[in-house]
């Protein structure tokens, strides 16, 4: 392969990892993926497919839930991630926005954002500048900055969680299910902001989503997970046009709406897919 042009170095490379919870429950059965620098990569799949586990394996938050990576490797900028403290990864530029937002309920919105800067050592001025940047991306947060986060709406909390992650000056955000429980308009709005952060700040995103439709419209590349395995991968545009994806995840097919009669063949094709 010496003659091929050097591919762009991936920012993050996950190579065939297996994750086991509590020493017995095998959740990921060999997941591989790579996230290019400056891209939005979508990780799709249904409930329990292993999206969140994959993200937590990368950010090393698995340990506190008694999960561990037993096989394979995860490399960020060529360095092995396993065995590092989550705090160390945040300092190196990888931060996770957890599913279900997880704002600090009794802290104000602004205090929440400031905790994002916990690991930074580059001085008050720089942190303050970034706070203003976050407020520019999320004007709603500026209005609510003095409210306790627990009393803000779901959408505001999601913005707060993303803003908090931005405050750490990351190079890569692991964004878990930002659409959860939000109205379609709000989902659209949040994805627009993610896209503009990606374009303006050059930040890379690894995005776990159940909402395949929205995710594939905003992402550059995508992976589809099913019961702990990657079953499909490719450019987002290609995935969107793929008949199987259309049928299983987007709820459309060339023959129009599926009727209940076809469920059997659906199952059969699905097994073949996996």
């Amino acid at each position: 392969m010496l003659d091929s042009a050097p591919a762009r170095e991936p920012l993050l490379e996950v190579n065939n990892i297996e994750v086991i919870y509590n020493h017995v429950i095998l959740v990921l059965k060999g997941v591989s993926l790579s996230v290019p620098k400056g891209g939005i990569t979508a990780l799709l799949g249904g409930n329990g497919a292993g999206k969140t586990t994959t993200l937590k394996a990368i950010s090393n938050l698995l340990k506190s839930e008694r999960g561990e990576v037993t096989k394979g490797s995860i490399k960020y900028k060529g360095e092995t991630v396993q065995g590092r403290d989550p705090a160390e990864l945040v300092r190196k530029g990888v931060i996770q926005v957890m599913e279900g937002r997880h704002c600090f309920q009794h802290l104000t919105v602004e205090e929440n954002l400031m905790t994002g800067a916990y690991t930074r050592r580059d001085g008050k001025g720089a942190v303050e500048a970034d706070l203003q940047m976050v407020y520019d991306y999320f004007p709603r947060l500026r209005e609510r900055r003095k409210s306790q986060a627990g009393y803000t709406s779901g959408g505001e909390q999601q913005m707060c969680a993303i803003g908090r992650a931005l405050m750490s000056r990351p190079e890569m955000i692991l964004l878990d299910e930002p659409s959860m429980g939000l109205a379609p308009q709000l989902v659209e709005q949040i994805f627009e902001i993610v896209k503009s952060v990606n374009e303006n700040e050059g930040l890379s995103f690894l995005l776990a989503e159940q909402n395949t439709n929205v995710a594939l419209r905003f992402a550059h590349t995508g992976y589809i997970l099913e019961s702990g395995r990657v079953v499909m991968e490719g450019l987002a545009a290609d995935l969107r046009e793929n008949p199987d994806v259309k049928e299983f995840y987007l709820g459309m097919s060339d023959e129009g709406r599926k009727s209940f009669r076809d469920v059997r063949s659906y199952r059969r094709r699905k097994r073949w897919l996996a």
Binding site: C103, F104, H106, L107, N112, Y118
Partner: protein
């Protein structure tokens, strides 16, 4: 009988307002010490969801270390600094040896672990310093021991200077602590950790650092409490018992609220004194201070399970 319960005590209070003030002052002084101990509990509970049974013995241990070091010929103020260093070492050790291996275990296991710490510290303290009572080095620390005599309404009010010092120092400690928690990066991290462990981890807050910090702060509080209480009652393992007084304070104030711990402590301190003097001694033969606080807490819990100032549980549906 009804007269004795509902009317006479209040008549007595108004008949001798200077004595009432004296009673309230005594209550305030012990109340502020209860509040300090409760504060130690609250800090540790908020940041790690551990109910720290060892808070009481930490008070004894800090006081013993201070007195013991002085007995070895160390100057008083140097002994204070050394004691703080010992408390820091203790915090680091507890985090390394006890908390870190137990991360993620059910709360009850961590609670049991703090009982273990208590027993260990009792043993260690006895081996190093012996079990006999000791006198707090009040004068050597420069704490005034005289008393201030006031004459409100022509009556008599005696305030001991060491009590006044205790109140002032405790108030400064509390104000400092509140500023620290609300205005600094570390303080914010402590509060964040109390709200959501996972999220705190995800933004890179290190549990280990915060735990050491919080246990060290609890150690500082323990030292101040130990000095203040030791100055009144001497230093012995019996001091540990006052830590149990912090339990009703916590029930009253809520396990999570700093303001609650302070107000709860002051309330319990003053109410139990008032009750003892005006109701307990004439009607029940005295010695009500040992149980009054617990009964009061029980009554509060019946009506407000989260305590008077417990953090309101924010729940979104």
């Amino acid at each position: 009988m009804l007269n004795d319960i509902f009317i006479k005590p209040f008549v007595d209070m108004f008949a001798a307002p200077d004595f009432l003030l004296q009673v309230l002052w005594e209550g305030l002084v012990s109340g502020i010490l209860y509040a300090l101990i409760a504060l130690g509990f609250v800090l540790i509970y908020r940041s790690s969801r551990i109910f720290n049974f060892a808070q009481g013995i930490m008070v004894v241990f800090a006081a013993l270390t201070l007195v013991g070091l002085h007995a070895m010929g160390v100057p008083a103020w140097v002994a204070v600094v050394l004691t703080l260093a010992v408390m820091f070492g203790l915090a680091v050790t507890i985090e390394r040896v006890v908390l870190r291996p137990l991360v993620g275990q059910p709360d009850i296991i961590l609670f049991m672990a703090t009982i273990g710490i208590t027993l260990f510290l009792i043993g260690l303290g006895e081996i190093i310093f012996g079990g006999e009572n000791k006198v707090m080095i009040t004068e050597q620390l420069g704490i005034p021991t005289g008393s201030v005599v006031l004459e409100p309404w022509g009556g008599l009010l005696i305030l001991e200077q060491k009590d006044i010092t205790a109140v002032i120092v405790a108030a400064l400690l509390v104000v400092g602590l509140l500023l620290f928690l609300n205005k600094t990066r570390m303080g914010r991290a402590i509060r964040a950790l109390g709200d959501d462990h996972q999220a705190a981890l995800s933004v890179g807050i290190s549990l280990q650092t915060i735990w050491v910090l919080v246990w060290f702060i609890a150690g500082i509080i323990a030292l101040v409490t130990g000095v203040a209480w030791g100055a009144r009652a001497g230093v012995s393992f019996a001091l540990e018992v006052i830590a149990y007084k912090a339990l009703p304070v916590l029930m009253l104030g809520g396990l999570e609220s700093i303001t609650g711990a302070i107000i709860g402590g002051l309330m319990i301190g003053m109410l139990e004194k008032l009750f003892e003097i005006y109701w307990g001694q004439p009607l029940l033969g005295g010695n009500t201070e040992t149980w009054f606080a617990f009964v009061l807490a029980l009554i509060v819990l019946l009506f407000r399970p989260q305590g008077l100032f417990g953090e309101k549980i924010i729940e979104r549906v």
